[in-house]
């Protein structure tokens, strides 16, 4: 009897996750219907205009979608050499040694620093450097936020990649060594190809983090509501426009912001699904 009740409690608890997910989708869709109804789904997504003045009120998501894609992909590009190096350091070259646990705990601490502290650091320390580099006069923009963002996502990409690299069977590597391969050749022809799908999946997950990162980007991107004209330009991401304008909005604007939230949710869900599918491929090998 007691067991039956306990098992029921466990089942109900698991059901909560299902309800949460359903409630999330319902709340987002329900609150964004107004904006999608006003402009049409595609009309809302493909419109780059964002004008909250009540006389000429018009809302579209394109500027923020583009801003999000620019920052996320550029930061992913910047993080690849560093994250891959850390992954090789921990998962291959110094696997299991004291060096490796030192480096990985330092890099893990990077993941523990709150987004807002990254924002402060980016504003007070990195921004002057970016101005010095002559990227743009104020320093704010896609470039600055991508640089800070890339540091924030390195730990996510590197720790998972290192795990996959360390799972490469020793047999394969020993075979290559016995044929006279150098360490680099083993890495290039054995370790990396074997762990490839795991590494790709971890970078996809890091991309998902970059897409949804809010506070640091809000503080650094410059907050302009138009499609960025390149890396030197200012812009706004989907997350940053919500953080910036949600507080004082109501009516159609609120609905438009929630619609952007729904789009962001769909994009990150798809990214996670993609990572999962790539990993499944790995499991089959």
């Amino acid at each position: 009897m007691k067991d039956k009740i306990f098992r029921l409690v466990l089942f109900v608890a698991a059901l909560v996750i299902l309800l949460l997910a359903a409630g999330i989708v319902y709340a987002l869709v329900n609150r964004s219907v107004e904006a999608f109804g006003e402009y049409g789904t595609w009309g809302f997504i493909s419109n780059a205009e964002w004008d909250p003045r009540s006389a000429t009120e018009e809302y579209g998501a394109l500027s923020f979608v583009m801003g999000t894609l620019y920052t996320a992909f550029f930061s992913l590009l910047l993080c690849i050499p560093f994250a891959l190096a850390v992954a090789l350091f921990n998962g291959e070259y110094f696997k299991g040694s004291g060096f490796s646990s030192f480096v990985s705990s330092i890099v893990d601490l990077l993941a523990g620093i709150p987004s807002i502290v990254y924002g402060l650091w980016g504003f007070y320390t990195v921004r002057p450097i970016v101005i010095e580099m002559g990227v743009n006069a104020q320093g704010f923009g896609i470039f600055l936020s991508s640089v800070v963002l890339s540091i924030m996502i390195i730990p996510y990409a590197s720790s998972l990649s290192a795990e996959f690299l360390s799972m490469v069977p020793n047999k394969l590597k020993e075979g290559a060594y016995s044929l006279g391969a150098t360490r680099l050749e083993v890495v290039r022809h054995i370790s990396l190809p074997t762990a490839a799908s795991g590494i790709v999946a971890s970078f996809i997950l890091a991309l998902g983090r970059a897409l949804g990162e809010t506070m640091a980007v809000t503080m650094l991107i410059g907050n302009t509501n138009r499609i960025p004209q390149g890396l030197r330009d200012t812009g706004n991401t989907m997350a940053s426009v919500i953080a910036n304008q949600f507080g004082e909005s109501d009516g159609l604007k609120l609905s438009a912001l929630i619609a952007i939230g729904l789009l962001l949710f769909i994009i990150t869900a798809l990214i996670n699904l993609a990572a999962k599918m790539v990993m499944k491929k790995l499991a089959r090998i």
């Binding site: 007691k2 098992r7 409690v9 466990l10 089942f11 608890a13 698991a14 909560v16 996750i17 299902l18 949460l20 997910a21 409630g23 999330i24 709340a27 987002l28 329900n30 560093f82 891959l84 190096a85 850390v86 350091f89 480096v103 330092i106 601490l109 990077l110 523990g112 620093i113 709150p114 987004s115 807002i116 502290v117 402060l120 650091w121 504003f123 320390t125 540091i151 390195i154 590197s158 150098t182 680099l184 050749e185 890495v187 949804g212 990162e213 809010t214 506070m215 809000t218 997350a239 919500i242 953080a243 949600f246 507080g247 939230g261 949710f265 990150t268 869900a269 990214i271 996670n272 999962k276």
Partner: protein, 291 residues
């Protein structure tokens, strides 16, 4: 005999060495930002890191400006943020720990079942969800219907963030326990409930507790979801249904207020100390109660 291979080997060795040096160099560079950030926060924050920070509430912008003009230190601290963080995170812990524990036990015990697969997938989905979207949802669920920002809304947002982390760590820990533990308990005639509470949870305590600590340290510094749920307040508030501040929310306020901007570093310093302490304890717990 002349081996052309030898010159070739030299070239290959050179490439090998270069790659090794590059990996070490890039790994070293990756560690720099942590030290830069710590240096920034500590060197700028230690001045205002005093008793006042813990015992006084945030001063008004006006008072801070007057003090600044007279060259005095800022007349106030972040007591309202500290109590707010304790309240919001505390409630989130209460909400998420038992629920997360039960879901984790369910998933570990029902592997391969279709429903468990769906729940497991949705847990991953929740874990990958941007924090600002969680803020929006909590706004739609709680702030709008109850017509007001509140500590409760903030803690619900943090609960949604903590839940998947606790579920995952519990599930992973329980999966690592030998099946014999469970079987031995059941074979001795113990009930399933007793096996879970007397055998599985105590043996997996290290992993489960570590997961909870890490989840707390993750949500401790969350700002975006709290901005649109708990809003912030300039007084100490222990009422669940009132707007409440938190340390990261105060940092955001100070950042936007040139009169109070000096306080951002000491508040960040406090936040980092707490987060790193939690991480450190988690590491010790994980090592001590290794499964």
């Amino acid at each position: 005999m002349n081996y052309p291979k030898i010159t070739y080997t030299g070239w290959r060795k050179g490439k090998d060495k270069t790659a090794f040096v590059l990996v070490c160099l890039f790994s070293l560079i990756t560690m720099f930002p942590l030290f830069f950030i710590l240096w920034d926060v500590v060197s700028k924050g230690y001045k205002n890191f005093n008793l006042r920070l813990f015992t006084e509430v945030t001063p008004s912008s006006m008072d801070a400006m007057l003090a600044r003009m007279n060259g005095e230190p800022i007349p106030g601290g972040i007591l309202n943020g500290i109590t707010g963080t304790v309240l919001i995170v505390g409630m989130a812990i209460i909400f998420s720990v038992f629920l997360g524990l039960f879901i984790g036990i369910y998933l570990a015990d029902n592997r391969g079942k279709r429903f468990a697969g769906v729940v497991s997938y949705l847990t991953d989905l929740l874990q990958g969800m941007p924090s600002i979207v969680i803020g929006i949802i909590t706004y739609a669920w709680i702030v709008k219907p109850l017509s007001g920002y509140s500590a409760l809304a903030g803690s619900v947002a943090l609960t949604i963030m903590m839940l998947p982390m606790i579920v995952r760590s519990t599930e992973e820990t329980l999966k690592m326990l030998p099946v014999a533990y469970k079987e031995a308990g059941l074979a001795l005639g113990s009930s399933y409930t007793n096996v879970v509470f007397r055998i599985l949870i105590p043996s997996g305590f290290g992993g489960i507790f570590t997961g909870i600590l890490l989840a707390v340290s993750r949500v401790m510094g969350e700002t975006a979801p709290l901005m649109i749920t708990a809003l912030g307040a300039s007084v100490v508030n222990w009422k669940v249904m009132e707007p409440t501040s938190a340390i990261p929310l105060l940092i955001w306020d100070f950042y936007n207020d040139p009169n109070l901007v000096e306080l951002i570093w000491s508040s960040s310093l406090l936040l980092l100390i707490v987060i790193f302490l939690l991480n450190w304890i988690a590491k010790i717990v994980a090592r001590k109660w290794k499964v």
